[in-house]
């Protein structure tokens, strides 16, 4: 449950601060800067964890319905969004949608897919999205919760699927979403296979969702994962990255904590046919085999979508 996640996180934060204190004691300018940054991040983390009590009931279908027009405007005019083959999502029952993630902290692919899902199936069909704790706890997190966004945890995912809802997960998470722009046509889940165990535990089909264009909404220069590790962000805020990008209105944008104004890149999303794991891989599927299969299918679909694009941003 959400409360246990909070407790775990608070303990992690405590350990993180202690570790940072020890590092500072050992001397060195880098360690000192790291320690100060870590303390600040730890304090922020403690404040943020207090906001992570979002549960499934925060989803508000009336609010979604009333705000779909603004999402439609954004998706249609700014991103020229196109979503294909939504009919591949089973009409009823729980389903685990697995996507590749792009666009830094702004993630236009999620907005467009959320719009398309709700207009296609109606706001009456429950649809949840897992997001990083920092996203859910941010100022816009309040709005996202009403759209069905919950902090990423196995418990939240299990609860959502048990209610028969559709659940969207991005296994690549912050690792994939901040990849460099020149790796934009690459599916990179960083070997995370939790979604397969989740689908098997809940006995739900996996529906791969592939999007292209999101990584062209800014010039992403790199994840800054070494920097994040050096500053202790991985322990304090579960952040494996401290991305560096060039994006309006900031110019050089480190961290992307406040988001950015995305360039109006054309976003295309394609939903692939559902995969029933036990039907396709037997009663006890091999996790690695399933992982390879899903990522290969997604990479092939992404390659096909990328081949349709003539120019970056323009599409």
């Amino acid at each position: 449950m959400a409360t246990s996640t909070l407790a775990d996180q608070a303990r992690q934060n405590g350990k993180g601060e202690q570790a940072e204190s020890e590092a500072a004691a050992s001397g060195g300018a880098t360690d000192l800067i790291g320690s100060l940054f870590g303390r600040a991040a730890g304090a922020i983390g403690e404040r943020l964890t207090g906001r992570l009590t979002a549960d499934l009931d925060d989803r508000d279908p009336d609010y979604i319905r009333e705000t779909l027009p603004r999402l439609w405007l954004l998706s249609t005019i700014w991103f020229r969004g196109e979503v294909r083959n939504l009919g591949n999502i089973p009409e009823e029952g729980a389903v685990l949608m697995v996507g590749n993630h792009s666009g830094g902290n702004v993630t236009p692919d999620t907005h467009i897919l959320t719009l398309a899902f709700h207009t296609y199936f109606g706001v009456e069909r429950a649809f949840y999205q897992l997001a990083h704790n920092l996203v859910v706890a941010s100022p816009i997190g309040q709005l996202l919760r009403r759209y069905g966004t919950v902090s990423a945890s196995h418990e939240h995912a299990r609860q959502a699927l048990e209610t028969g809802a559709a659940l969207l997960v991005y296994p690549g998470g912050d690792w994939e979403v901040h990849r460099a722009s020149w790796e934009r046509h690459k599916v990179d889940f960083a070997g995370r296979k939790g979604f397969i165990r989740l689908a098997l535990d809940q006995d739900v089909p996996i529906v791969p969702v592939v999007s292209v264009g999101g990584q062209e909404t800014a010039l992403f220069l790199g994840r800054g994962n070494r920097l994040a590790r050096g500053l202790g962000l991985d322990r304090l805020l579960r952040l494996k990255v401290l991305p560096v990008s060039i994006a309006p209105p900031w110019g050089l944008n480190v961290g992307d904590f406040l988001g950015h104004i995305p360039l109006p890149a054309k976003i295309t999303v394609e939903v692939l046919p559902a995969i029933d794991l036990r039907e396709q891989f037997g009663s006890e599927p091999d996790i690695d085999e399933v992982y390879d299969h899903v990522t290969r299918l997604m990479q092939e679909a992404l390659d096909a979508l990328a081949a349709e694009r003539r120019f970056p941003v323009v599409g």
């Binding site: 009336d62 319905r65 009333e66 705000t67 779909l68 027009p69 603004r70 439609w72 405007l73 998706s75 249609t76 005019i77 991103f79 020229r80 969004g81 196109e82 979503v83 939504l86 467009i112 719009l115 398309a116 207009t119 296609y120 109606g122 009456e124």
Partner: protein, 164 residues
Amino acid sequence: MRLAECVEVSAPPEAVWDYLAEPDHYLRFMSGVTRWEVRGDKRSGKGARYRMLIRIGAAEVGGLIEMIEWHEPRDMAWTSITGVDQRGRFRIRRLPRGRSRVELRYQYGVAGSGVFGWLSEQVSAPTLGRHVRRTLHQLKRQVEHERLRAEAESRRRSREAASA
């Protein structure tokens, strides 16, 4: 937002009505419509329900609709049960020399969506207006084509009967 267009069809109202009454025909002539599926036991008539979707911009928009008027061969109207608020109506009126005037009225919006709702209606209006016009022209073509085929079939049978 309210849209209305009309077209003259070289067929009597009964022929137009027969074509409109069959739900399987809607994907053939309704421009932009990606789904028109019967929901429930009733295929047509007052109270029949359909799941309809129409592609506008980045999304397929629509929802569950229900026929609320069914006055053969003059008026049929539907309203939304779920999804985007919408009302649609086909008005068929008799013209001289076996012709008909068919009008399609379509109203849509999202109640409570405020200024963004109004803005999205304005932005989508040209696209939907084109769909409405195209729908009527495709309906005209289909009905007139069906009528020509029926007349040709009738002539063929007459010839066969005469030769026999």
